[in-house]
C-alpha cells in the first residue's frame, strides 16, 4: 500500500504545561512494496510517527493516506478496524504482550477478534509458524516456556496472522543476542519479499538500515531531517553527526581508509570479503583508482 504523510503535526497534551510537539509538518511518501528505515535518536518522533500508521494516534494537523484510507485531523477515522487489519505493528518487546495459555491460541487471538473463521485460522497457523521459524510441536505449549527470542517470534506470528500488507517494526532486535538479531532481521527480509509487504523499520542501527532498507528517512525533533537511498544518505557524516547519529561502521571505515591511503572505495553494498580484496589490491599497489 502506498503511504503518504502530508504536513502532519502531532502535539501531546496541547494547551497544557506539558505540551509537547512530537511531529511538526511532516511530509513524506512511501511506495507500496518498499522497505523503509526510519532512523533518529531517542525523542526524535519515530514512535509517535508509527502510531499514526494504524490510527492509534490521529494527527493534530495534516493528512495521512494509507492505501485508500484517509486520516485527517479532527475527523474520526472511518473503518479503523479494517485499517488495523492491513497495517500490522510489531511494537518494542512484543513478547510482553503474550498472554494466552498456548502458542496456538495466542496466534489465533488477533484473527479471531477480526472475525476470521476458525477453519481459516487453523489453515494459517502452521504457515505462520514456518514463516517465523518455529517448530509445529510447540503449538500446544505455553508461550511463557519459551526463550526470549522464541517468544518474540510467537508475538510476530500473531501480528502476521492478520495477513497485513504493511508491516511496521519498532526496534525488533532490541535485547536479542547477536545471532538472534540477525535471524530476526533475515526473517523480516524474507517475509518482505515473499509476501510482497511494505515494510517500515524503526531502528537505531545504521547497520541494519543500510543492509535491509531501500529508502531511509532520518528524523530529528519531530521533523524530517534527511531522506533518500541508504548508501547516499549514510555517507553524509557531518550532517548525521549534527543530529547525533553515526555513519554506519563500514562507511566510516572506508572514509578513514580514503583519508589515510588517498584511494576511494565507493560503497555499493559489497560484502566484507569483497572489500578486503579491494583493500589488499590497493595496498599492494596492484590497482590504481585515483
Amino acid at each position: 500500500m502506498d503511504i503518504s504523510f502530508n504536513e502532519v503535526s502531532y502535539t501531546y497534551q496541547p494547551n497544557s504545561p506539558f505540551e509537547h510537539k512530537a511531529l511538526i509538518d511532516l511530509s513524506f511518501q512511501i511506495d507500496s512494496g518498499s522497505f523503509v528505515a526510519i532512523v533518529g535518536h531517542t525523542g526524535s518522533g519515530k514512535s509517535t510517527l508509527i502510531q499514526h500508521l494504524n490510527g492509534l494516534l490521529r494527527p493534530t494537523k495534516g493528512e495521512i493516506k494509507i492505501g485508500d484510507y484517509h486520516i485527517r485531523a479532527e475527523e474520526k477515522i472511518a473503518k479503523v478496524k479494517a485499517l488495523r487489519r492491513q497495517v500490522g505493528i510489531v511494537f518494542q518487546y512484543p513478547e510482553h504482550q503474550l498472554f494466552e495459555e498456548t502458542i496456538a491460541k495466542d496466534i489465533a487471538f488477533g484473527p479471531k477478534n477480526f472475525g476470521v473463521d476458525e477453519e481459516e485460522i487453523n489453515r494459517r497457523i502452521p504457515i505462520l509458524m514456518e514463516a517465523v521459524h518455529l517448530p509445529l510441536t510447540l503449538l500446544d505449549r505455553s508461550p511463557f516456556d519459551l526463550s526470549g527470542g522464541q517468544m518474540r517470534r510467537v508475538a510476530i506470528a500473531g501480528v502476521l496472522a492478520l495477513e497485513p500488507s504493511v508491516l511496521v517494526l519498532d526496534e525488533p532486535t532490541a535485547g536479542l543476542d547477536p545471532k538472534g538479531q540477525q535471524e530476526i532481521m533475515d526473517m523480516f527480509a524474507t517475509l518482505h519479499k515473499k509476501k510482497n509487504l511494505t515494510t517500515i523499520l524503526v531502528t537505531h542501527s545504521m547497520e541494519d538500515a543500510l543492509k535491509y532498507a531501500d529508502h531511509v528517512i532520518i528524523m530529528d525533533h519531530g521533523q524530517k531531517y534527511m531522506e533518500g537511498l541508504p548508501h547516499e544518505v549514510f555517507v553524509e557524516k557531518d550532517k548525521l553527526q549534527q543530529v547525533q547519529l553515526d555513519v554506519p561502521e563500514v562507511i566510516q571505515f572506508l572514509q578513514a581508509f580514503e583519508a589515510k591511503f588517498g584511494q576511494t572505495i565507493p560503497y555499493q553494498g559489497q560484502t566484507l570479503t569483497e572489500l578486503a580484496r579491494l583493500m589488499q589490491e590497493i595496498l599492494k599497489g596492484e590497482q590504481k583508482y585515483v
Partner: protein
C-alpha cells in the same frame, strides 16, 4: 586493598530441582580495578551471575565471595552496600518523585546523615551530568537521562563493585557511548570494579577482560583482542565480533598480515599502513 574483589568458586545454580543447571561449575576472579565484560547468548547464564553477586539469588553449590565476604542470607545486607546494580529498563528502578529524591533513596536506606547526603547527591548527579534536573520527575526524562539517574543513584552509595546488566540496551548509540564514558570516568577517579553484561560488541573492546558464557559454563576468559580472533567459534555459540574484527579477519584470511588483532578502526588502519609499507 583486596586483590580479588569478586570471586566465584565452583558455583552451580538452577531455578528448581527439576530443571537443568543454569550455571555449571563456574569459577572466576575479578580484581579490584578491573573492567570485566560478560557476554553470552540469551539464556547462557550471564544475568544469573549478576544476581548471584549481590544475593538476589543464592548458589546451589559452590561459594561466592565479594569484598572478602562470602555471600549468604546473613551477609547480603553487608554485600549489597558494596555492590551496585543497574538493570536494562530504568522505568522499573525509580522510586522517588523527583530526581533528587530518587538518588536520595539509597542513601536514606543506609542512614546517611543529611549534610553528607546532600553532598553525595550533588556529586553523583554531577558525575552523570544531570545536575540541572534535580527537581524533574524521573519518568518524564528520556531513556538515556533515566539511565543516568539510575546510575547516579548507585554511585551515590559509593559501591566498590558496579554491575551494569544490559543497562545500555535500550539507549540509542549516542546515549550508550555517553553512559559508558561517564562510568569510565568515575571508575578512573574512584577505584571501582566494573562488570558489564552486554550484547553490544563494541562495548567489549573497552573492557580489560572478557568472560564468554555458553550454556551455563565459562567458554572463554580472555583479553578482548584474543576473543576477537575466535570469530567462527563465537558465531557457533550465537555471538559475533565487532565490524573491525570481522574486516580484520577477512583481511588475515587473504594473507594480509596484520601486526595485531585490532580493537578499533585506528588500530586496523595503522596495521594496514605497516603492511602497505612492507609491500
Amino acid at each position: 586493598m583486596l586483590k580479588h574483589r569478586v570471586e566465584f568458586r565452583n558455583v552451580y545454580f538452577r531455578y528448581s530441582e527439576t530443571e537443568d543447571w543454569v550455571l555449571k561449575n563456574v569459577s572466576f576472579t575479578i580484581a579490584s580495578d578491573e573492567w570485566v565484560a560478560i557476554i553470552g547468548h540469551n539464556g547462557s547464564g550471564k544475568s544469573t551471575i549478576a544476581k548471584l553477586m549481590n544475593g538476589l539469588l543464592f548458589p546451589d553449590k559452590g561459594e561466592i565471595i565479594v569484598d572478602g565476604i562470602p555471600v549468604t542470607e546473613e551477609s547480603i545486607w553487608d554485600v549489597r552496600t558494596n555492590v551496585g546494580m543497574v538493570f536494562q529498563n530504568p522505568d522499573n528502578q525509580f522510586v522517588g518523585t523527583t530526581v533528587r529524591d530518587d538518588v536520595a533513596f539509597g542513601l536514606e536506606n543506609r542512614g546517611v546523615e543529611r549534610n553528607e547526603m546532600l553532598k553525595r547527591i550533588e556529586q553523583s548527579l554531577e558525575a552523570v551530568r544531570m545536575s540541572d534536573y534535580l527537581l524533574h520527575e524521573p519518568h518524564r526524562l528520556s531513556g538515556g537521562q533515566k539511565q543516568r539517574v539510575a546510575i547516579a543513584g548507585v554511585l551515590a552509595v559509593s559501591p566498590h563493585v558496579m554491575i551494569l546488566d544490559e543497562a545500555t540496551a535500550m539507549l540509542d548509540p549516542k546515549g550508550r557511548k555517553e553512559i559508558l564514558a561517564t562510568i569510565n570516568q568515575v571508575r578512573e577517579s574512584q577505584s571501582l570494579t566494573l562488570i558489564t553484561i552486554t550484547h553490544d560488541l563494541n562495548e567489549i573492546t573497552k573492557a580489560d577482560r572478557v568472560i564468554v558464557m555458553n550454556a551455563g559454563e565459562i567458554w572463554l576468559e580472555a583479553l578482548p583482542r584474543e576473543v576477537f580472533t575466535k570469530e567462527k567459534d563465537l558465531r557457533a555459540i550465537g555471538l559475533d565480533v565487532p565490524f573491525v574484527a570481522k574486516l580484520a579477519n577477512e583481511l588475515i584470511a587473504i594473507d594480509v598480515k596484520l601486526d595485531q588483532q585490532p580493537l578499533h578502526q585506528k588500530e586496523l588502519l595503522e596495521s594496514l599502513w605497516t603492511y602497505h609499507l612492507t609491500k
